[in-house]
Amino acid sequence: MTQNIIVSPSPHINKHHSTQSIMLNVIIALTPAMIAAVIFFRLQAVYVTGTCIITCLISEWLCNCFRKQPNSLGDLSAAVTGIILAFSVPPALPIWAAVIGSAFAIIIGKMVFGGLGANIFNPAMIGRAFLTASFGMLMTTWTVPATIDKNMPVMSPANTSVMTQATPLAWSKQAIKTKDVQDESKKVKASVADGMFKNLFWGSRGGCIGETSSLALIIGGLYLIIIGTITWHVPVAVLLSAFIFSAIPYLMNDTSYASPVFHLLSGGMLIGAFFIATDPVTSPLTKKGQWIFGIGVGGLTILIRIIGEYPEGMMFSILLMNSVTPLIEKFCKVVPAGGTPNA
């Protein structure tokens, strides 16, 4: 026998996909949101996103060199982290802050745990949490979309050199916080928040780079579900629980609280449900676990939005649920077909 014969364990064939192709699909799915970001925030969006991606890749490469590990840039997970992080920061974020956030996301959020697959928290959310804690002002300065007419109420024009406005969620928060029932402005504020559906859907509103256009995110999310990169369980669980939790206060008092549909379309709800909560590494393995995880993310987000101090709660609820994922796993052990053996 002169030929080389390969011997390896079965199976001898496999599905033609890889971690790289999964990550590539996520990047493809984020493209509509990227296009929307360029339309609304012009070159600012491109600069910040580009900076985040490049910084993430360089940080990962440096960590690999430092740990004497093989180069892992090829799996594209660092690029995805960069894009997600960029999409969840305001467009006017200075480049230096984007560099710090991205480096923190990869080095502290991912590589110190041992790289892809070993991290407990979603790296992009770690980066964003770090930025929020360190540079609160920069992280809440919202650029007015380039497509919008400038008649929208301006919150604090003196703060920065760019035109800024409050996000729809900030308006809704304002409405909740105005305790004085007699205050006429409360109704106005809630109705401003409520009346933004069209802008929420198309994306012409203040917000983070990639989260403003609901349409683009829904297209991307559906693409991921249809080609099988993610399953529908987590997004549906997140959105369903957010809908139910926000419907309760709305039904009790619809002048102070924004409608559930508003909550679904605003802030980071859609990007979180489709792209961040579905991160396989930091969410449970089993379908049952994914339901619990998704319901937790949706419920906590609404809780923070309505009762908490921050207008947006997606980031914290995802990080919180990330931290309980091992616990969820423990309670959602799979039962083999044929039941548990009596042992």
Binding site: Q3, G117, V281, G338
Partner: protein, 414 residues
């Protein structure tokens, strides 16, 4: 090869340089769970020595050099006509004949068929499933058998039914073989003894042919984890086994030959062959036109569960249904990357266990953790490795873990 089945290994009954004739008993064991072995050819015993075995590494075998004057054994397709009457055979007669003929489960497991046919008064068999589901890609031997030996299979089924005194019979065929379904419907309709048999068409899906999966699909019953189908009153038998039972009982012919598929992109003329049990893999490949230039992997079995072999002189056994030769282009380029916990293996697993947890436990030598996650329930179908985007050999790790546990308990040598 003296170990062709689950259970006690046979002792050789012949000596070196003995002359043997086709059908002569050459190996036997007294244990209940075992099956005797017969020589498939006329010839002389060249040696009794260790020989490559796809699963056990090396095991004792009787090496027979076939003599010049060998007449190829004629298979007896449809020798049984539709008027066959299983009446004269008693359950005990059927059991004895099956035991004597050395019949084992020919779908792959190699469980001695006679053991299954021994009626157990504590848990009587209520349903008989005849497994015509060949779910692995490339393999077509059972399909050809169903088309060409239809009556013989039906006779075998009638005898199984007689032995177990059970008349709920389901012949299960996948929906990608409509001609087999049609031919069986016709044959069942035409024959006097088979009129009570149901033909079930089930979805083509891997691993539909696994007995647990088949029982779930057809009867919607689940075999307890760690248990076997008779515990819930079900007997599953492969179509090839049924055909062999018909030959053994009605024709008193031992199991010495079987149909094998030799296929894959690595052989020149793939096909099905009726070959003596124990023929070397290399000879079968020659019959199929030889290897192509880019053939890189020779598998005893199918591409999902088969064993890749390095030694082409490895003999086939009673359970070898296929030889699949893969060419370079068929092989995935595997490079293991970190698990991203995507859960595709969990979703793919037909027995609902957590392959990644078990595999990583085995990898870090934590066999107790692996067992807590029901490692023993794994049927080694390969679906987890197949679906893993990180190219982790999940099935390989689980198999390794099972072997390590068996060694700890001294159930396995080495």
């Amino acid at each position: 090869m003296l170990s062709q089945h689950i259970g006690a290994i046979c002792k050789p009954l012949v000596n070196k340089k003995d002359t043997v004739t086709a059908g002569q008993l050459i190996g036997n064991a007294d244990a209940f769970v075992s099956a005797p072995i017969h020589s498939p050819v006329n010839g002389t015993v060249k040696d009794i020595a260790l020989c490559s075995h796809p699963v056990l590494g090396r095991t004792q075998a009787i090496i027979i050099e076939s003599s010049e004057n060998n007449q190829p054994k004629k298979p007896c397709p449809n020798r049984f006509d539709p008027t066959f009457d299983p009446g004269p055979f008693s359950a005990q007669q059927i059991f004895d004949a099956v035991r004597k003929a050395g019949i084992v489960g020919m779908g792959g497991a190699g469980f001695p068929a006679s053991v299954k046919l021994k009626a157990n008064p504590q848990s009587p068999v209520t349903d008989i499933l005849i497994n015509g589901c060949e779910c692995e890609p490339f393999i077509t031997c059972d399909y050809r058998l169903m088309l060409e030996w239809t009556n013989q299979i039906l006779v075998g089924i009638a005898l199984i039914s007689k032995a177990l005194n059970c008349t709920n019979i389901y012949i299960c065929i996948e929906d990608n073989k409509p001609d087999a379904v049609a031919i069986f419907k016709k044959a069942v309709h035409a024959s006097a003894f088979a009129s009570n048999m149901n033909i079930v068409t089930i979805k083509t899906k891997y691993p539909q042919g696994g007995e647990r999966q088949l029982i779930k699909s057809v009867l919607n019953k689940e075999v307890p984890t760690g248990g076997i189908p008779p515990m819930i009153g079900v007997l599953v038998s492969n179509v090839a086994t049924a055909a062999a039972i018909a030959e053994a009982v009605a024709g008193d012919i031992p199991l010495t030959h079987r149909v094998l598929t030799v296929s894959g992109n690595g052989v020149k003329n793939p096909g099905n062959f009726y070959a003596p049990v124990g023929i070397a893999v290399s000879e079968l490949i020659e019959l199929a036109g030889g290897l192509t230039d880019d053939a890189v992997k020779i598998i005893l079995g199918g591409p999902m569960m088969g064993f890749a072999i390095a030694d082409l002189s490895t003999p086939t056994t009673k359970t070898s249904g296929a030889i699949t030769v893969l060419a370079e282009k068929d092989l995935p380029k595997r490079r293991e990357t970190p698990c991203i916990r995507c859960g595709r293996c969990v979703a793919a697993c037909p027995v609902h266990i957590n392959p990644t947890k078990i595999a990583h436990a085995v990898k870090h030598n934590m066999l107790d953790v692996a067992q807590q996650h029901y490692m023993s329930a794994c049927i080694e179908c390969g679906c987890c490795s197949y679906s893993c985007p990180a190219d982790i050999e999940l099935t390989g790790f689980i198999k390794t873990g099972k072997i390590l546990v068996a060694r700890q308990k001294n159930l396995m040598p080495k």
